[in-house]
Structure formats: C-alpha cells, structure tokens
C-alpha cells in the first residue's frame, strides 16, 4: 500500500491537500482584503491630511471587520429584471480565477501550492478569465449603466492584457523559464531582475494598475461618472466578493508577480539559514508594492477612456514590442552576460519617460488646431 506524506494514504492526501490549500488561500485572501482596505483608508487619510478610521478598535483597526460584518449581514437584494443565474454566477466567475492563481505564488522556498513549469502562463490565463465574469455581470444586471460599464471594463482589461503579457515575455527570455520557483532562484544575490529589465517592469506595473482597476485606470468602477459601472446592481456580499475580495486579491497576485519576477521573490538576507524567513521577505516586498499602488491612488487623477485606450495602443504596446525585440536580439547575441540587456533596457526606459511629455504636447497641439479649424467656419457663419 502506497504511503504519502505524513503517513496518509495518497488517495486521501490529494483531496485533503486541495482542501487545505483552498482553505489557506481563502483565509489569506479574506484577511488580506481586510488589511488592505484598512491600509488604503489610513494611507489616503495620511496623504490627504485626515485622520482616517479611528473609532472602532485601537487605531481604527477593527473598522474593516465591522464593515465586513455589515456587508455579510446585509439583505441579499436582487432586482426583478436581472438575468437569474448569470447575475449569481458573475461574482463567482470574477472571484474563482483570482483564488486559483494563488496556487502558484511562491511564498518561500518550499511554500508553494504547485510548482508548475508553466506557472507564469497559468497566472496570465487566469487573469484573462476575469473579463468573462465582468462582461456577464454587466449583461445580467439588465441596466444600461452596468452594461456600458461592463463593456468599457472588458475593453480596458483586454487592451492592457497585451502589454502585460509582452512585458512578462522579456523576463522569460532572460531567465529562460516560466516556473515561478526557477525565476526566483535565478535572481540569487543582490542583482535582481529589475536592474536588468527596468523597462519591462515599468510597462508591467502600468498595465497591472489598469488590470486591477486601480487609479489612474479605475474607470470600470468610477463611482462619480458611471455610478460604479458594472457593479451598479450589486450590493451586500455579492458586491463585497466582486469588488473588495477580488480586487484586493488581484492586487496581491499582481504585486506577488512583480516581486517574484523583478525583485527576487522570497530571497533576502538570512533566507539560506532560516528558509521560513522567505515568507517575511516575500510579504514585505508584496505589501511594499501594494502601498505604492495606494500612494498612486491618492496622488493621481483618473484618466478619460480615450486617453486610456490611446495610451495603451499607441504607447505601451509598441514600446513593449520594441522591448521584446531588443531583449531577444541581445539575449541571442550575448548569451553569457546580462550587461548589454541592462544597458539597453535602462536606455529604453529613459527614452520612454522623456518621450511621453514630448509626444503628449504635440498631440495636444494637433488636437487644439483641429478644434479651432472645426469651430472657425461655424463662428464665421454665426457672425
């Protein structure tokens, strides 16, 4: 009779392991969302010179718990004209891919759900499945705001998926593997990937902000313009699952990808001696990026939808393609050293950062000229 880990029959162990993994991921997602909502409020309050939550518990720490209890105990409202099963299925369709992507996140050396050899592809795939849930939610709500919001949101997610994936490709070209563990292992020591590939990191970070609906790309749930877009008809825990849990879960997943691919994952001082220290380093790095995202939210205004789309299709995607070509050619030409790739990537980043204002100013001038030309005959006719 075969014996698995801990002396448990493998036939029992395999499903048991699944249950434990899902339970652990759920626990982390729920608590992560609570913690991140609290962090978000506090950080925005500090930046905007307010106090933030401080009534419930010490430093307002229990405020989000109270809010979660309120959400759970809310009446389950469903408008009569909504589309039955689809309306119920949409939150699950948004939530499940996010939960499933926690399987391949490497928290530490051996603390990973499954070491897939195509882990990165798996994460991209699950990220692309969220769109389906959002479109279904918009459709099932039977509400024009929700429908328009859902379609806009799907358009944004599909568009920004492209630069996101293209940025990942350059990392795979340098590392030569899609496994999250191998990518982390390849960055032993202080020379993490961000020093080699800063440009693809910047592209990925911008695209990830759009993918997770964070400001300045939070049009899908723009409360002030689209009455929260595709979430219009949702309330209570359905809303909580879709917005709070899925959004903050996705933010965590994206930050974990950034940490693993560009910042050395769990690696840090003292990890070789105490492997469990990796969890601490990983969490610290991930939360560092989450705080940066919150900082951006408190700083930048929201983009308009046409600016969002033109920035993606005319800015990010061409630059990501150039980045891939450059990295691939240099990786083939200099298989032993990463220094030429690093130089090229830093140069590309400088060109990108310097080029945006120039291009933007020229575009604005052209737009203004066109607007003037369009209004001139009308003004002449009126006078």
């Amino acid at each position: 009779m075969p014996v698995g880990p801990f002396g448990i029959d493998p036939l029992i162990w395999a499903p048991l392991r699944l249950v434990i993994a899902v339970g652990l991921a759920l626990f982390l997602v729920l608590n992560g969302a609570l913690l991140q909502i609290y962090l978000e409020r506090k950080i925005q309050a500090i930046i905007q010179d307010r106090l933030g939550p401080y009534h419930v518990g010490p430093f307002g720490l229990l405020q989000t718990f109270a809010d979660a209890l309120k959400l759970i105990s809310k009446e389950d409202v469903r408008a009569a004209a909504t589309d039955g099963w689809f309306f119920v299925a949409a939150p699950a369709l948004v939530f499940c891919p996010m939960l499933a992507s926690w399987v391949v996140l490497p928290f530490a050396q051996d603390i990973v759900g499954a070491n897939l050899n195509v882990g990165l592809l798996y994460l991209t795939t699950l990220g692309s499945m969220t769109v389906l849930g959002i479109v279904i939610a918009g459709w099932a709500s039977n509400n024009k705001y929700a429908l328009v919001g859902g379609l806009r949101s799907a358009g944004q997610l599909i568009s920004y998926e492209i630069p996101q994936i293209l940025a990942l490709v350059s990392v795979t070209l340098v590392v030569g593997s899609l496994s999250m563990i191998d990518i982390t292992r390849s960055q032993a020591g202080p020379f993490v990937n961000v020093l080699v590939l800063p440009f693809s990191f910047v592209i990925y970070f911008i695209a990830a902000l759009a993918e997770t609906n964070r400001t300045p790309f939070d049009l899908p749930e723009a409360e002030s313009e689209l009455v929260a877009g595709w979430l219009t008809e949702y309330s209570g825990m359905r809303w909580g699952t879709m917005l709070a849990l899925s959004e903050y879960g996705n933010v965590t997943v994206v930050c974990a990808i950034i940490t693993t691919l560009w910042f050395g994952g769990w690696q840090g001082p003292g990890v070789d001696a105490i492997p469990l220290l990796g969890v601490l380093w990983f969490t610290l790095k991930v939360y560092g990026f989450i705080v940066v995202m919150m900082w951006i939210r408190a700083t930048l205004p929201r983009l308009r939808i046409d600016q969002l789309m033109s920035f993606c299709w005319k800015g990010l995607i061409p630059m990501a393609l150039v980045n891939i070509v450059v990295v691939a050619v240099l990786a083939l030409a200099f298989p032993t050293t990463k220094i030429p790739i690093a130089i090229a990537s830093w140069l590309l980043l400088a060109v990108f950062v310097a080029g945006i204002p120039v291009v933007q100013r020229r575009r604005l001038r052209a737009l203004r000229a066109r607007a003037r030309a369009a209004t001139a005959p009308a003004a002449r006719a009126a006078s």
């Binding site: 195509v118 798996y122 389906l132």
Partner: protein
Amino acid sequence: MTYDFVEPVVFALLSIGLIAGGVAVVMLSRITAAALLMAFTFLSMAGMFVLLGAETIALFQVLIYVGAITVLILYGVMFTKFSDRPRALFFQRQTPFAAVFVAAVAIPVAIIALSFTSPTPRPGGGDLIPLATSVFTDFAFPFEIASVLLLAAMIGAIVLTKRDEPEEAAARRRR
C-alpha cells in the same frame, strides 16, 4: 489497492461535461447561456489536455478561447438585437442537408476513432521548449501562414468598421 481508476473517472467526468456542454450550446435558444456554456466546454477541453500531460496547450486553450473568444462572442451578442426577427427560421428547414453533412463528418471520425491505436506515450510531449522549437522550425511555414491570415482579417475588420472623421463626413455632405 492501486489508484489507476482515478484517471478514467476524471476522464469520464470531463467527457460528460464536454459533450453535455457542447450539446447544450447547440440546443439552447438563450444565446448568452450558450456562450457561457461554450466557455465551460472549452474549460473541460483544457482539462482533457491536462490529463494528456499537455499543460501548455491547456493553458493556451483557456487563455485564447475562454479569455478572448468567448468574451468577443458575448460582445457580439450584446451589440446585436436578437428579437427583431423570428429565430431559427433559416436553420430549421435544413434537416435533411444537416443529416447528410453530419453523417459525412461523423462516420469517418467514428471509423478513425474506433480503429485508432494510441502511439507509445512520449513523456514531456506538452513541454514548452520542444513545443516552441517545433513551432518555429518544423512548422514555421504553417505558423507564418496563420499569422498572415490573422493579420489580413484584422486589417479587413478595421477597414470595414472604420468610420470617417466627422469633419470629412461633413465636408462630403456639403459637396
């Protein structure tokens, strides 16, 4: 006691999901439900690929068919009014033709499937590096042909749907 029975059970579940989903896609008259069930069918198919050890193919299946194509179909559904005309007026008169076509496809497939003896399994057949190598060496020509075809379709779609600039349209009206 061995655990060889797990794989056939998973296979059976996936096949039931695949066939039932496919049948439901064809039979249902609610088109959004059909689209969602199609996504389910694609997911079951991906499960089949995983069972065959081809994780990469499975992931691309989900990435392209669930993440992109189903969403596109839903987009198409949402921008079309499906209540204007009586449904299925055209297709329901085609039963004899349909039977002939189904027989023409199904009988060879059944014959091949029943006479099929599986080749010796090659471990790592779905692995990424051999897959990429074969795509870019042995199958480079078909790959490029497919790319050119897709590019042509994309440009065609843009040309067909592109609206004139508002000023140009106004200028043409004035003429």
